[in-house]
């Protein structure tokens, strides 16, 4: 933290920085590390404050220390942080207040936009699941003819996946599945007994269940020790912030590296309104910023820009960067800026209890908070082709227990018998929930709200247009039925099936809207995450995605960021930007 505090030096409006990075989350943090390590002088502008893990994270807090057991007083969420679905009383400071950060939606088609405005962004409380995409994903269109391929293939990005995994520290197993590529892993986290049963149940249906690949340190390598990161002790409080640096986040893993180079200036509470365009060249020359606290307006200048505000914030920034040279915003010439918004969907699945574990004693590993993963098993090839939908889904889930006994919600009664029942079943839960591919469709898009709605700083907000198609609904139907079958085969009882798809945005994997491609007429970015229309601007977060795949996206965001930074540095040094 001390090194980071030192990077909080005043930013200068007179200086021209080599690179200005907007955002300090997964992508912005990694960009700061990569660019400063290559000797560039970097200004990181982060809209939110810098939290101090020791003071602000609730990893060591017990639920009984909170008046409402971590849930917060009744109604607080509906009043302030309604759209921050995963926020709790212990983690509310990570999330934006919806009252200050509006967005609008099409009537009848809601969208849930979970956002973090703090140094580190959503990495402070993310789920840590770290999967590679394969050519089944990058070249999905070649498989089934829908939409277009990515302009990159697995071979090109594989070395950057290696780098990302080795740096952030991903625990996992190499399972030898061609469509779920292996990587550079720390020792895997063992499955619990219940998860072993799930694995056997899935195998009976010819479905593979594998150990999770999670950005949590199960061993400390020198690159982790150097920045004070410790091994995970399975406290299960990752969503409240990890104070020992065992889980990857920008505060523990990337920003300290950038700070140590002394090449990074970090300005917090700096909301970038838009990029400032040089009307002679069409390139960006600076950023217009409003201070979150003082509301003071200011400008900073740079040679190149990394836009990493998270998928939709980045696109909002580009759309808000209108000028005579870029009348539809920077990157707007193709007409696809804002288009092809996707999110994974979940919701469909099944849960139950494993009666053979009722009343057992708890063990430390019960709190491991990493679960299982069932990689995609539909539409891998002709033999697994599903007649009703394209692409596929995987399952997350498991049989582990958190500090709060979820089973209490479903247990009737009160008093000592209620407590006895809760204790008995607390140790036996099992569940599977879907993580599914949503097709990238032109008609799912964001635009600057045509009604003129603004946020608390007067910055125009997004209007989101998104809905599922029958492809997703068919997939959800299949997923709910398959999840229940797996649970049954595992010996679960009291199986409940969830059949509704989550509202778009709920899985917090919003992707697309500034897609990369091979043709400037149909894409916003080239294969280096570089804006076709303004070559000194790079968009390195999920906005660049062509398709969602069904795997969690952050590892791919990190790999693309490293690759883009390498290219940016070379191009800057060659004088090409």
């Amino acid at each position: 933290m001390q090194a980071l505090q030192a990077a909080l030096k005043p930013a200068s409006s007179k200086k021209v920085y080599d690179v200005i990075i907007i955002g300090s989350g997964a992508s912005g943090g990694m960009a700061a590390k990569e660019l400063t390590e290559r000797g560039l002088d970097v200004l990181v502008l982060e809209a939110g404050p810098l939290l101090d893990p020791e003071r602000d994270f609730a990893m060591n807090k017990n639920t009984w220390e909170s008046m409402y057991r971590g849930f917060g007083p009744p109604g607080w969420k509906q009043k302030e942080q309604w759209m921050e679905d995963t926020a709790g009383d212990f983690s509310r400071s990570f999330y934006v207040s919806d009252t200050e950060h509006p967005y609008t939606t099409e009537p009848g088609k809601p969208f849930l936009w979970v956002r973090a405005r703090v140094v580190g962004g959503k990495t402070l409380h993310w789920g840590r699941l770290s999967w590679r995409f394969s050519d089944l994903d990058f070249k999905a269109a070649s498989h089934d003819g829908f939409d277009g391929d990515w302009p990159i293939d697995y071979k090109e990005i594989a070395p950057y996946y290696d780098k990302a995994e080795e740096w952030i520290g991903v625990s996992g197993n190499n399972d030898g599945l061609w469509w779920q590529p292996d990587g550079k892993y720390l020792p895997p986290i063992a499955l619990t007994c219940g998860e072993q049963l799930l694995k056997k149940g899935a195998a009976k249906l010819n479905i593979k269940l594998i150990q999770p690949r999670v950005a949590m340190l199960t061993a400390v390598k020198p690159q982790h020790a150097k920045y004070g990161r410790a091994k995970c002790h399975y406290c299960g409080s990752c969503g409240n912030g990890c104070t020992v640096g065992a889980m990857f986040n920008s505060l523990s893993s990337t920003l300290p590296v950038a700070a140590a180079t002394r090449k990074m200036t970090l300005r917090t509470n700096s909301i970038v309104r838009h990029l400032i365009v040089d009307e002679n060249t069409g390139k960006a020359k600076g950023v217009a910023v409003v201070d979150r606290q003082s509301h003071q307006e200011m400008e900073f200048f740079g040679k190149a820009f990394i836009v990493a505000g998270s998928t939709l914030e980045s696109t909002r920034l580009l759309l808000n960067s209108k000028s005579p040279k870029h009348p539809n915003g920077i990157g707007g010439s193709s007409g696809v800026l804002g288009r092809y918004l996707v999110d994974h969907f979940g919701g469909t699945g099944a849960s139950g209890v494993l009666p053979m574990f009722a009343g057992r004693d708890t063990v430390n590993e019960d709190g491991k908070s990493s679960g299982i993963f069932i990689p995609r098993f539909r539409n891998l090839d002709q033999t697994t082709k599903h007649p009703k939908f394209l692409r596929g889904y995987g399952f997350e889930g498991g049989s582990a227990i958190g500090r709060f006994p979820g089973v209490a919600y479903r247990t009737p009664g009160f008093g000592s018998e209620f407590k006895r029942q809760v204790r008995r079943w607390y140790v036996a839960p099992v569940g599977l929930t879907t993580r599914a591919h949503m097709l990238s469709r032109y008609e799912n898009f964001v635009e600057i709200d045509p009604g003129g709605v603004v946020d608390a700083w007067g910055v125009p907000v997004l209007r989101v247009h998104i809905q599922h198609s029958d492809n997703e609904r068919e997939m959800g139907k299949d997923a709910a039925e398959t999840a229940a079958q797996i649970l049954k085969e595992a010996g679960a009882e009291e199986i409940g099936i969830s059949r509704q798809l989550t509202v778009p945005g709920r899985i917090i994997h919003e992707l697309g809207t500034a897609r990369m491609g091979s043709d400037p007429k149909t894409s916003v970015l080239n294969k280096w995450n570089q804006v076709w229309d303004a070559k000194n601007v790079f968009v390195t977060d999920g906005a660049a995605f062509v398709g969602a795949a069904n795997q969690n996206p952050t590892l791919t965001i990190l790999a693309l960021t490293i690759r883009a930074c390498e290219y940016l540095t070379d191009e800057l040094k060659r004088g090409n930007l």
Binding site: G108, P110, M298, G452
Partner: protein, 189 residues
């Protein structure tokens, strides 16, 4: 767009104001440093020029010390809405049969809080220009956006949320007129 630095104005502009339902009114607070001003917008009449909901009513501001000030004939014009992500409120008990919505049957899974399960979560209104001095608020209130989050805890609030949701989803002129009449009835009740 805003590439020039903004000229320094003496009063900071209040861009938006968060409010929650309180019976038939919306209440919120304006914070300036440690000072809190209680804000109340009480709509008395609804109309829908060009299909967009407009509420007309009074704005009352109570400063941290001293008495409240009120301005009448304030209009709140709907700019846009944000969809709710939780289940829709129940159909108002007094809703005429002709205005009830049909529930379609589905063979495939639905999406949470979408289509027939949807409702409006936030109404974003532009208020007609307010005079900060007249209301005793040392801010520029000339273009305030009222973010009315429909967190309904009473029947009258739930009915309003249901009717407003039906209004923004109205597909025919007859539905629009019908829901508007119901909103006006509930505002005057």
């Amino acid at each position: 767009m805003f590439t020039q630095k903004k000229p320094a104005t003496t009063l900071r502009k209040l861009h938006s104001l968060h409010a929650l339902p309180d019976g038939r009114a919306f209440t919120g607070k304006i914070e300036i440093g440690k000072a809190r001003y209680q804000f109340t917008f009480t709509p008395q009449e609804a109309s829908a020029p060009n299909g967009k909901l407009t509420l007309r009513g009074s704005v009352k501001v109570k400063p941290p010390t001293g008495s409240a000030r009120t301005v009448n004939q304030v209009t709140a014009s709907l700019l846009a809405t944000q969809g709710s992500i939780v289940s829709a409120p129940p159909v108002p008990k007094s809703l005429p049969a002709a205005l009830q919505l049909e529930q379609p049957t589905r063979s495939l899974p639905a999406t949470d809080a979408t289509d027939e399960q949807s409702s409006v979560g936030v109404l974003y209104f532009k208020l007609s220009p307010l005079d900060g001095r007249a209301l005793g608020v040392p801010l520029d209130l000339s273009a305030v956006q009222l973010n009315a989050r429909l967190y309904a805890t009473a029947e009258v609030e739930r009915d309003f949320q249901w009717l407003v949701s039906a209004l923004v989803l109205a597909k025919t002129e007859a539905q629009l007129t019908g829901y508007l009449a119901e909103i006006n009835r509930s505002l005057k009740a």
